[in-house]
C-alpha cells in the first residue's frame, strides 16, 4: 500500500498553479433548494431522454421524469418532490448559448421520496446484467465531465478481458476541488463503488490514480481500503501535472499502456471511471438512490465565498452564486468547468447538470483577455507540451487553410482539447479553437454527406418507380390492343376496313337508286 509504484510519465503537459486552496479549506456545504429546478433532457452523450410526466403533474423525489429511449442514453429523475411547471426549450450550459428542452420542477418544500428499489447490499451475488440495469435506472453518467452513460461503458459484452479498473481521482485542472472534497467525506463509498465496478467487469485489480497535491484525500482512501480489508485496490499517487486526469494520460501513468487512436481503453484491458461516478454507483446499488445531486466547486476571485457545495441537479447557477455570497466586483468571466477546458457561459441563468463539476467566476487578472493572435513563428513549443504527441502546429496550418482532409492525416480526432498548446503559444494563437472549428466542420460535412446520399437513393428510387409505372402502363395498353385484335378474328384494321367498305357500298347503292328515280321522274 505504501510501496512505490512505477509511474510511466506521459509526454508533454504543464505545471500550472493549482489554485486549490481557494475552495478546499472548508467542508462541503449543502445548498438549499431554489425556486425552480431546470432539468435538461440531454445531460449525457447519446439520445436525449423522453419525458414520461406531463405539465402540472405532481412528482416525488427520485421519481423518473424522463426515460432513456435508446441504448446509449440515460433517464432523468426528480431531485426533490414538487410539480412539473413546464417542459420547454430553455437556455442550457453549452458553448453555443443555445436552448434545449428542459423539464422545470417547482419544489413543494416536502422533499418527499418516491418508492425506491431494493438496496442490493450483497452485490457480489447479483448478476452483471442486474447491476447494469440498476446503474442504468439510476441515470448514472460519467461525472468527471464526459457524461457518457455508465451502464453502456461497463457493458463489456461477456468475459471482458479487462484486468484493471482505474478510478480517476486526479482532478488535474486548476481550481477544481469537488472530487477532493468527495473523497475526504466519503472515501468508504468510493471504495465500495470501485468494488462494485470490479465485480461487474471482472477486473482483478483496481488502481486509484490521485495527484500528489491531495494528500488528505489519498490518506482517507488508504484508510478506507485497509478498513474494508480490500486487497485488490491500491492508491497510486502521481506527480501533479496537467493533464494527468485525462483518461488516456492517467491510463498511461498507471499502467504504461496507451489507448489506441480511435480506440477504447477496453481494447487494452482497462476501464476508467471518475470517483464521483463510483460514489453514485455505490448509492444506486447499495441504497437504491438515483442520481439527483452532485458536488460542485464554485471558485475564482469573482465570487465572494468560494467553496464546494452539494447541489441538486437543475439548480440555476445564479442561485448557486447568490448562495455563495454573490459576485465580487472583479467578476470578469464565468466558466463551466476548469480554466483550461471549461467553456464560457454567456449568462448565469442556466442549470447545473450531471457533468457540471465546477463553476468559475474569474477576475480579469486570473483570466485575462487573450492578446491578439499573431502569426505562427513555428517555434515548436506546442509540440513539446502536447500530451497526445500530436503536431499542433501542422494541424493549425491546415485548419487555417480549411483543408479538412490534410488535418485528419495529423490525427486531429486524437486531440483531447486540453489547451496545453494554446497556453504555451508565444504568438497567442487560439489553437484549441481552430481544432474545434475543424472537428465540428468535419462532423457537419459527414452529416450532410449522409443526408445527400439518402436523398440520392430516394431520388433514384423515385425515378425507378416512375419508370416502372410507365412500363406497366405501356404493357397494359399493348395487351389491351392485342386482346381487341383477337376478339374480332383478324386484324382490327381489316374488320374496320370491311365495315367502311360495306358502308361506302350502301352509300353508293343509295346514290344510284336516287339517281335512277330522278331520271324516271324527269322523263315523265
Amino acid at each position: 500500500m505504501a510501496e512505490q509504484r512505477t509511474i510511466w510519465p506521459f509526454h508533454g503537459g504543464l505545471h500550472l498553479d493549482d489554485h486549490k486552496s481557494e475552495s478546499n479549506q472548508r467542508p462541503v456545504q449543502d445548498l438549499p433548494l431554489p425556486r425552480r429546478l431546470i432539468l435538461p433532457l440531454q445531460q449525457h452523450i447519446g439520445q436525449s431522454a423522453e419525458p414520461v410526466v406531463e405539465v402540472g403533474e405532481l412528482v416525488k423525489k427520485g421519481q423518473t421524469l424522463a426515460r432513456a429511449p435508446d441504448y446509449v442514453s440515460a433517464p432523468i429523475h426528480a431531485p426533490t418532490s414538487g410539480r412539473v411547471l413546464e417542459i420547454e426549450a430553455m437556455p442550457i450550459a453549452h458553448p453555443s448559448g443555445l436552448s434545449d428542452t428542459c423539464i422545470v420542477i417547482q419544489p413543494d418544500g416536502d422533499d418527499a421520496w418516491d418508492a425506491l428499489p431494493e438496496p442490493m447490499t450483497e452485490f457480489t451475488a447479483e448478476s452483471a446484467a442486474d447491476l447494469r440495469e440498476r446503474i442504468r435506472w439510476a441515470g448514472i453518467v460519467g461525472m468527471g465531465g464526459a457524461a457518457f452513460p455508465t451502464a453502456v461503458k461497463v457493458n463489456t459484452g461477456g468475459p471482458s478481458g479487462i484486468d484493471t479498473l482505474i478510478i480517476n481521482a486526479a482532478e488535474c485542472e486548476p481550481y477544481i476541488t469537488c472530487d477532493d472534497a468527495l473523497m475526504r467525506e466519503r472515501a468508504g463509498d468510493v471504495i465500495d463503488g470501485a468494488a462494485i465496478f470490479r465485480h461487474l467487469i471482472g477486473a482483478r485489480r483496481c488502481l486509484i490514480g490521485i495527484e500528489d497535491n491531495k494528500p488528505e484525500a489519498a490518506s482517507a482512501l488508504r484508510r478506507a481500503i485497509s478498513d474494508k480489508g480490500d486487497r485488490e485496490t491500491d492508491v497510486v499517487v502521481v506527480p501533479t501535472r496537467y493533464p494527468s486526469g485525462g483518461e488516456k494520460q492517467l491510463i498511461r501513468l498507471l499502467t504504461g499502456r496507451e489507448v489506441p487512436s480511435n480506440g477504447l481503453p477496453a481494447a487494452i484491458g482497462v476501464l476508467c471511471q471518475n470517483v464521483a461516478t463510483a460514489v453514485a454507483v455505490a448509492d444506486a446499488v447499495l441504497r437504491g438512490r438515483p442520481l439527483i445531486d452532485r458536488i460542485v466547486t464554485l471558485s475564482g476571485q469573482g465570487v465572494r465565498q468560494p467553496g464546494n457545495f452539494r447541489v441538486a441537479l437543475g439548480t440555476p447557477i445564479d442561485f448557486l452564486v447568490a448562495q455563495a455570497g454573490g459576485y465580487s466586483e472583479q467578476a470578469h468571466q464565468l466558466l463551466l468547468g476548469g480554466p483550461m477546458m471549461g467553456f464560457g457561459l454567456h449568462t448565469d441563468q442556466v442549470p447545473v447538470t450531471k457533468a457540471a463539476n465546477c463553476v468559475l467566476a474569474l477576475s480579469a487578472a486570473e483570466a485575462p483577455e487573450p492578446p491578439a493572435e499573431r502569426p505562427c513563428i513555428r517555434c515548436g513549443e506546442c509540440v513539446q507540451v502536447c500530451p497526445a504527441q500530436l503536431l499542433p502546429q501542422q494541424m493549425f496550418w491546415h485548419a487555417r487553410a480549411h483543408d479538412f482532409d490534410r488535418i485528419q492525416e495529423y490525427h486531429l480526432f486524437d486531440c483531447i482539447e486540453c489547451g496545453c498548446c494554446a497556453y504555451v503559444c508565444p504568438a497567442n494563437i487560439p489553437l484549441v479553437h481552430y481544432y474545434r472549428y475543424a472537428k465540428t466542420e468535419i462532423w457537419t460535412q459527414e452529416r450532410e454527406r449522409e443526408k445527400s446520399d439518402l436523398a440520392r437513393r430516394r431520388h433514384e428510387a423515385r425515378q425507378a418507380r416512375l419508370e416502372r409505372l410507365e412500363q406497366e402502363r405501356k404493357s397494359r395498353l399493348r395487351r389491351k390492343k392485342e386482346a381487341l385484335d383477337k376478339k374480332s378474328g383478324g386484324s382490327a384494321d381489316d374488320s374496320k376496313k370491311a365495315a367502311i367498305q360495306a358502308a361506302m357500298q350502301r352509300v353508293a347503292e343509295k346514290k344510284a337508286a336516287q339517281q335512277a328515280e330522278s331520271q324516271t321522274s324527269d322523263s315523265n
Binding site: 443555445l98 493572435e373 430516394r458
Partner: protein, 185 residues
C-alpha cells in the same frame, strides 16, 4: 530521310496498337467521372443549375459542357471540391445570394391544404406523405429544401422554414468570426 519516316511510322503503329488494345481491354462501364462528380453534389434535385436534377448536371460537368459553379445549395465548398476533383480552377459562384440562403425545409399549412397531390408529384425525393383528398405533410428528415413543391400548389399553402441549429448540430465558428455567423445547422 526515308529511314526517319519509316521509324516514325513504325512507332506510331506500335503505339496506336497499344492504345487500341488498352481501350478495349481496360474499358470501364458507365462514367466514373460523372459518378464521382455526383457523389460531391448535395442531391437537393432542385434544378437551380438549370439541369433536371443532380445526376444530369454531374454528367454535363463530366462531359465538359457545364461550369462547376452553378450549384447554390452546394455552395463554395462543393465548387472547391469539384475543382480539386477535376483539376480545374475554382470559379466564383454564379449566384452568391442563393448560395448563402440558410438551409430550410418545406412546411404545409394543414388548414389550407386541399389534398390535390400536385406537390407530391413534384417532390424529387418523395418527401411528402399523403394521397388524393387526404392530408399532405412534409417529412422533415427527408426534405432537401429544393422548393420544387411551392409553384405547383394551387392554394400556396407550402412555406419554407429555416432549419435552426441545436446544441447537437452547432458548429464552432472560425476563430475571429462572430458566433452568430456560424450558428447554422
Amino acid at each position: 530521310m526515308i529511314v526517319a519516316i519509316l521509324t516514325i511510322a513504325a512507332l506510331a503503329t506500335v503505339f496506336g496498337l497499344i492504345l487500341g488494345y488498352s481501350a478495349i481491354r481496360f474499358r470501364v462501364e458507365g462514367d466514373p467521372i460523372a459518378d464521382q462528380v455526383d457523389a460531391l453534389l448535395p442531391q437537393t434535385q432542385c434544378g437551380q443549375c438549370s439541369f433536371a436534377g443532380c445526376r444530369p448536371y454531374a454528367e454535363a460537368i463530366a462531359a465538359g459542357e457545364a461550369e462547376i459553379n452553378r450549384c447554390p445549395p452546394g455552395g463554395e465548398a462543393t465548387m472547391i471540391a469539384l475543382a480539386e476533383l477535376l483539376g480545374r480552377d475554382p470559379v466564383p459562384l454564379e449566384d452568391e445570394e442563393a448560395a448563402e440562403k440558410p438551409k430550410s425545409v418545406a412546411f404545409i399549412v394543414e388548414d389550407e391544404c386541399i389534398g390535390c397531390t400536385l406537390c407530391i408529384q413534384a417532390c424529387p425525393v418523395d418527401a411528402i406523405l399523403g394521397a388524393a383528398k387526404q392530408m399532405h405533410t412534409v417529412i422533415i428528415d427527408e426534405c432537401t429544401g429544393c422548393e420544387l413543391c411551392l409553384p405547383p400548389c394551387p392554394v400556396e399553402c407550402i412555406h419554407m422554414h429555416p432549419l435552426e441549429a441545436t446544441p447537437e448540430t452547432w458548429k464552432w465558428p472560425f476563430p475571429g468570426q462572430r458566433p452568430a455567423e456560424a450558428a447554422d445547422g
